[in-house]
Symmetry: C2
C-alpha cells in the first residue's frame, strides 16, 4: 500500500460524512458559524453529538470542510468562461449560471456570504490561492475582449463584482426580497430577464 494514502472510506463513513455535511450546511447557513451548535447539526443529521465528533475533529473542521467543498462549486461558472466564445454571449451565460446557482444552491450562497461578511476568518487563504488567480485571469480575458472592441469598455473587476452582487443578492437577501415581492413565484424569471437587459445594455459596444 502506498505511503501516506488513506484507504477508501467504508460505505457507512461515506454516508454519515455526507449526512453530517448536509446537515451542517443547513445549520451553518441559517445561523452562522457561532450561531450553529453541534447539537443542532447532530439532530439535523440524525446522529448523536459524540458520533458527529467521531467523523470530524470538531466544529471548525466541519465548517472548513464545507468551505473547501464549496469553493470548487462556486468557482465553476467562472472557470467555464470561454476566451474563444462570443464575448457578450459568454458574459450573459455567466450571469445566468450564477443566477441559477443562487436559486438552486441558496444555502451555499449564504454560507459563503456569512463567511466573507465576517472578514473571511477561515477562508482568506482560499481567496488568495483559489479565487485571486482565477479572477485575474478572467479579468484579462474580458479586458482583451474590450480592447478588440467586442465589448464596451468598463472596468472588468467592477463588472465581475456587479455580476456577483446582483445574482447572489437573490439568495443572500432572500428574506428581504420575499417581503418586497410578496413571495412572487415568478421572481426568478423576472430577475433573469432584468439582469440580461442590464448587462446587455452595459456591454453592447
Amino acid at each position: 500500500m502506498p505511503d501516506g494514502v488513506e484507504k477508501k472510506p467504508s460505505r457507512i463513513q461515506q454516508r454519515n460524512r455526507r449526512r453530517i455535511l448536509d446537515a451542517a450546511l443547513d445549520v451553518f447557513s441559517k445561523h452562522g458559524y457561532r450561531g450553529a451548535t453541534l447539537d443542532q447539526i447532530a439532530e439535523a443529521a440524525g446522529l448523536s453529538k459524540p458520533n458527529i465528533l467521531y467523523y470530524f475533529d470538531g466544529k471548525e473542521e466541519i465548517h472548513v470542510t464545507l468551505l473547501n467543498q464549496l469553493m470548487e462549486t462556486w468557482l465553476d461558472p467562472l472557470v467555464t468562461l470561454d476566451p474563444d466564445g462570443d464575448p457578450l454571449r459568454e458574459i450573459l451565460g455567466y450571469v445566468q449560471r450564477k443566477l441559477d446557482m443562487a436559486r438552486d444552491l441558496p444555502r451555499e450562497s449564504r454560507l459563503f456570504a456569512g463567511e466573507i461578511l465576517q472578514g473571511a476568518p477561515r477562508m482568506a487563504p482560499h481567496l488568495v490561492s483559489g479565487l485571486q488567480p482565477l479572477f485575474d485571469e478572467k479579468c484579462a480575458v474580458i479586458k482583451a475582449w474590450m480592447d478588440r472592441g467586442a465589448l464596451a469598455d468598463v472596468d472588468p473587476r467592477h463588472l465581475i463584482f456587479s455580476i456577483w452582487a446582483t445574482t447572489q443578492h437573490y439568495a443572500d437577501f432572500d428574506a428581504q426580497v420575499r417581503v418586497l415581492l410578496r413571495e412572487d413565484a415568478r421572481c426568478h424569471d423576472g430577475a433573469g430577464q432584468y439582469l440580461q437587459t442590464l448587462f446587455t445594455r452595459l456591454l453592447t459596444p
Copy 2:
C-alpha cells in the same frame, strides 16, 4: 407630568447608552448576533457587563435598538428620491448616496446584511411596516417615469434590488474585494464611475 412620558435621561445616561450602542455596533457587525458576547461589548464600551445590563434589558434589546436606529439612516437615501426631479439624475444620485454610505458606514451595512442573511429574525416587522411601503411608493414613482418615456423600461423592483446589491457589496464583501483589488485605495472612485456608467446605459431611453 404627562402620563406615560419618561423624563429626559441624564447626561451620564446619554453618554453611556451611546457608548454601549457604538461598541455593540462594532461587535455585532464583526461577529453577528450569536457571535457577539456581552463581555466583548462591555470591554469595547469601557464598562462592566452588569453596568451594560443596567442600561439595557439584555443582549437582544441592544441589538433591536441598533436595528431600529439603523432603519431610519438606511432608508433616508431612498426617501430623498424626488418624484419631481430629473429621473436619470435622481437615480444616479441615489446610487452615489448608497455607495457613499457603504464607504462611510460599513458597520451599519454589515449589521443589516447579517440580520437579513439569517432570515431577518428580529427585523421582519420593520421590513413590512417600514421598508415595504416606501419600496412600493418609489417603485411607482420610477414606473411613472418610465411610462412617460423619461427612463428606459425595466422592472423597477429589480432595478432597486440591483442598486442595493451593487453598492452594498463593497461594504458587505469588503474582505473579498480587498483581496481581489489588492487593497486598491482608489477602489471607491472606481466603483462610483463604474456604477454610474452601468445605470446610465441601462436607463437612458
